[in-house]
């Protein structure tokens, strides 16, 4: 069966007695860019984790994402402190793809540097390069532009769009969402 949407039906997820998602339903298109919005603590990251299979819902069903590989930019960079920018970016792929992504994001001169030798914005770009180099079916972006200047935000957004796979992005910032051009929006209250 071919799905062109991810279908979430009556999803409830509780942490320590607190329902982060309560009977949440939505359909997320598996094409283009979808922006997930909601107040802090509304459950956006939890929704991502459920979609990526890192958490299981307490109740409800998720369909349309089975067997799909997720390329992720986590809320934190999650870089290996002992590995260079190139090694980090190549973690789920190969060095040529990783190098291409790093160069695209303006890190061609920093391939052999460790995370502690790079600025916060540069590390963020390495995390983005890792997701872009990975041969994923869906790109999950959780606050992907944290620490980036305007120019690098634009370069990164262009590179993400050019990956030509469905993009799900969490951002609070309208201007950051606009960097992707046209997008669908899903709100979690």
């Amino acid at each position: 069966m071919i799905h062109n949407v991810i279908s979430l039906k009556n999803i409830t997820k509780t942490f320590g007695g607190h329902a982060v998602l309560n009977n949440f339903s939505a359909e997320i298109p598996l094409c283009g860019v979808t922006v997930i919005r909601g107040a802090s603590g509304a459950g956006k990251t939890t929704l991502f984790r459920l979609l990526m299979g890192l958490e299981k819902p307490d109740s409800g069903e998720i369909h349309g994402i089975e067997g799909k590989k997720s390329a992720v930019v986590f809320q934190e960079d999650r870089l290996l402190p002992w590995s260079t920018a190139l090694e980090n970016a190549a973690l789920g792929s190969d060095e040529s793809r990783a190098k291409e992504a790093l160069v695209r994001l303006g890190l061609g001169d920093n391939l052999c540097q460790l995370p502690r030798e790079l600025s916060g914005g540069m590390n963020r770009r390495v995390a983005i390069a890792r997701a872009l180099a990975f041969d994923g079916d869906i790109l999950f972006l959780d606050e992907p532009f944290t620490g980036l200047d305007e120019e690098n935000k634009k370069i990164a957004a262009d590179a993400m769009r050019e990956a030509n796979i469905p993009i799900l992005v969490i951002t609070h910032d309208d201007a950051e969402a606009d960097l992707f051009g046209a997008y669908c929006e899903i709100r979690i209250d």
Binding site: M52, S70, V72, F74, R78, L80, S83, L91, G92, R130
Partner: protein, 248 residues
């Protein structure tokens, strides 16, 4: 390569210690109680010309380092087991606590009852090393950032790749530190075990003989030999570790 300044500083410190030793020795005035550095070093030079010194030192090294190697491997295996299984941790942690807290002489005397004198230093070295490597490695495994493991899984790393790329580099600093610390403990306890168990061809046996015949200069010369071997081992280990860290 150490700089000239560093070499000069090391030589100066050694000279200060030798001068203090010489001064105290002169003050005591009895070679039987405190031999001078000159007579100790002369005696060591004589000992070094004898084949049996090298043979006994080699055999002591072999016993203790075999125990050390077995201890490191066992410590790592136990760490992996107890970090993965709460039941294994609950089952085995009392044993670790007993080995950690009991006096080493109790184990030496027990080992002497159960084993040949040649085996006692080896077993004691194992007992000294296992809890140190086990504790440090298990803690490091448990402290490994779960978010990195999650990231590795998301990017399609296999279990083996997660071990190699995330667990090993994360655990390595604490593991290597435990290896260095436990080497000194294995060496000291191994020689102590030799002094009590008296395997015929060993540094411990020679130390005991020196004490028995009240040959204090010999006692000092053999002790210097032990210190020198210990420092050599530690130097080799640290060099090896630097290489491992560089390669990882």
């Amino acid at each position: 390569m150490p700089s000239k300044r560093k070499l000069f500083q090391t030589a100066l410190i050694a000279l200060i210690y030798l001068l203090v030793w010489e001064a105290v020795s002169l003050l005591v005035g009895k070679e039987l109680l405190l031999p001078s550095p000159i007579s100790t070093l002369s005696r060591l030079a004589v000992l070094l010309t004898k084949g049996e010194t090298w043979l006994f030192s080699g055999l002591t090294l072999l016993r203790i380092m075999t125990g050390y190697a077995i201890g490191v491997v066992s410590g790592v295996l136990l760490a992996v087991l107890t970090a993965r299984s709460q039941f294994a941790e609950a089952l085995l942690s009392p044993l670790r606590a007993i080995v950690k807290t009991s006096p080493v002489t109790s184990f030496i005397l027990l080992a002497l009852l159960w084993l040949s004198s040649d085996m006692v230093p080896l077993v004691i070295s194992i007992l000294m090393v296992v809890p140190m490597v086990w504790t440090a490695t298990a803690e490091a495994i448990l402290q490994t950032d779960i978010r990195l493991i999650e990231m590795g899984k998301m990017f399609g790393l296999t279990k083996w790749q997660i071990v190699k790329k995330i667990f090993v580099p994360s655990v390595l600093p604490q593991f290597l530190a435990a290896c260095t610390t436990s080497l000194g403990f294995a060496w000291k306890s191994g020689v102590a075990a030799e002094i009590i168990a008296l395997p015929k061809q060993s540094i411990g046996y020679m130390l005991y003989q020196s004490k028995l015949r009240i040959e204090t200069t010999d006692l000092f010369a053999w002790t210097l030999m032990i210190v020198a071997l210990s420092m050599l081992l530690e130097w080799l280990l640290v060099r090896g570790m630097r290489r491992i860290r560089h390669d990882t």
